[in-house]
């Protein structure tokens, strides 16, 4: 069995989804951690320092390319698999559906949740990453004041609402994705399943509350 065969079988494709998903899960932790610097309540000094480190360090910028690669792999593979799986169903659907009796709605809706997150991601990059990097000349130039940018964006209730919806989509996507990734990699058994589910839930709640509180903190002026 050669490598291309290994990764293109129905199990192999899932392994790619799981590995890229776990990488993105790790990224979210870093992202939330850095953003939490806004709660230093120092007018964004620490936050901008963290942002400067991420934007002006060569290693970080190389990792950033890796992050985009994993995002693209996860998105493209996810869409391809959803379309392929849809084509495997019978030509007719059931008159009476199984619905929630067998599985959770969010487990069956990973593709649509993923697309919602993608839409959010595009808006999100448009708000912060693109203006910042273009100001830098895409390399290691001068960055914009990201703290000020956040303050501005999150003074608009529409964006606060949109970010909240994006994070809710992320919450449900992760509710399935976290434990599904471990199952796909064969790491789930009776001994580990409780640990995986508990850690997944704690991770998910912490990450999502942290992300939701960021726009809200600015909107209500808790962070100045």
């Amino acid at each position: 069995m050669n490598w291309s065969h290994f990764f293109t079988s129905s199990v192999g494709k899932k392994i790619i989804m799981a590995c890229s998903g776990l990488f993105l899960i790790a990224f979210l932790l870093v992202h939330a951690g850095l953003n939490a610097c806004i709660w230093a309540f120092d007018g964004g000094e620490m936050f901008n320092k963290a942002g400067h480190f991420m934007g002006s360090t060569v290693v970080m910028r190389i990792l950033e390319i890796g992050l985009f690669v994993f995002f693209i792999i996860h998105i493209v593979q996810g869409v391809v698999m959803e379309l392929q799986n849809r084509s495997k169903r019978g030509s007719k659907g059931y008159a009476v559906a199984l619905g929630n009796r067998g599985s959770k709605w969010y487990s069956r809706s990973m593709a649509i949740l993923g697309l919602l997150i993608l839409l959010f991601l595009i808006v999100h990059l448009g708000h912060f990453w693109i203006p910042n990097r273009s100001n830098q000349g895409w390399l290691l130039g001068e960055e914009i004041n990201l703290f000020k940018e956040m303050k501005e964006v999150f003074s608009n209730p529409v964006w606060v609402l949109l970010y909240t919806v994006g994070v809710i989509a992320l919450f449900y996507h992760l509710s399935h994705g976290f434990q599904s990734a471990f199952r796909t990699l064969g790491l789930t058994n009776h001994k580990y399943i409780n640990i995986i589910q508990t850690v997944g839930l704690i991770y998910n709640v912490v990450i999502c509350i942290a992300f939701i509180m960021m726009p809200i903190s600015f909107y209500f002026g808790w962070v100045q």
């Binding site: 129905s10 392994i15 495997k88 169903r89 008159a95 199984l98 067998g102 599985s103």
Partner: protein, 254 residues
């Protein structure tokens, strides 16, 4: 348990052959005993149709004791009907009450084309078994059954996986028409025993390849299969299958 009779409305999928479109037919059936099995109710209905000069409904059945995996009906939105861990043939009419409408459909999956009415072609499962669901044994004198020591836990897990009767309910319930619960049961059954060790690596890779060839979807771990399996095969078997596949694929030297 109290016995009662009921009048029912049945909406059954009728389809002449794999090429035709098919549609639902509505049938009225009277005085159905609560002690009948679901298939006996269909026998009565078919008798009634024959007497009326109509064509009876084609459905798969064989042992009628829940172990052959032949019966396959999607009843009121659930493979094998409303009872948990029960095949269609072991479903009894006391699950329903007077005046109920029961919708009966065939398994829906591209890899399981409808042959006629409620019968689907499940030979894809046979070809998956042929691809690797076997073990090597020496010819000659029969070996004593207890000659190979097997630890109790593995024997139990293997037996639980071997309970899979290959009915296809997992595929029918899956939004991706994935056969992973079936495949994982077959792979686990042999991978857990010393007898299965010889073909272990090849088995995982070859059977996955055959599943893909037959046109089943990939598993997205929704758990619908586990919820409807009449033999209560656990989804942890799918994690074991993935483990087997990873180990075999990474260890293969070509």
């Amino acid at each position: 348990m109290e016995h009662y009779n009921m009048n029912l409305t049945l909406k059954v999928w009728k389809q002449k052959n794999s090429q035709s479109a098919g549609s639902f037919e509505t049938y009225q059936i009277k005085e159905v005993s609560s002690e009948m099995s679901f298939l006996e109710m269909f026998d009565v209905l078919n008798e009634q149709l024959i007497h009326e000069g109509k064509e009876p409904i084609a459905f798969d059945h064989d042992c009628r004791e829940g172990i052959c995996g032949t019966c396959s009906m999607y009843i009121n939105g659930r493979p094998h009907g409303p009872w948990h861990g029960t095949t269609t043939c072991q479903l009894h009419m006391r699950a329903f009450k007077d005046g109920d409408t029961i919708v009966v459909e065939p398994w829906r999956a591209k890899a399981f084309p409808v042959i006629k009415d409620l019968m689907v072609d499940r030979s894809a499962f046979d070809r998956i078994i042929q691809a690797g669901g076997y073990i090597s044994v020496n010819t000659g004198v029969t070996i004593d059954g207890n000659a190979i020591p097997i630890n109790r836990e593995n024997a139990d897990k293997s037996f639980a996986a071997a309970a899979c009767i290959g009915c296809g309910a997992c595929v029918a319930a899956c939004k991706n028409s994935s056969a992973m619960l079936f495949l994982s049961a077959k792979v686990s059954h042999l991978a857990l025993l010393p007898q299965g060790e010889i073909e272990r690596k090849r088995r995982a890779l070859d059977m996955v390849a055959q599943v893909d060839k037959e046109g089943f979807g990939s598993c997205t771990n929704t758990g619908a299969c586990e919820a409807v399996c009449p033999k209560e095969i656990e989804i942890t078997n799918i994690a074991r299958l993935n483990r087997e596949y990873l180990a075999a694929g990474l260890a293969a030297d070509k």
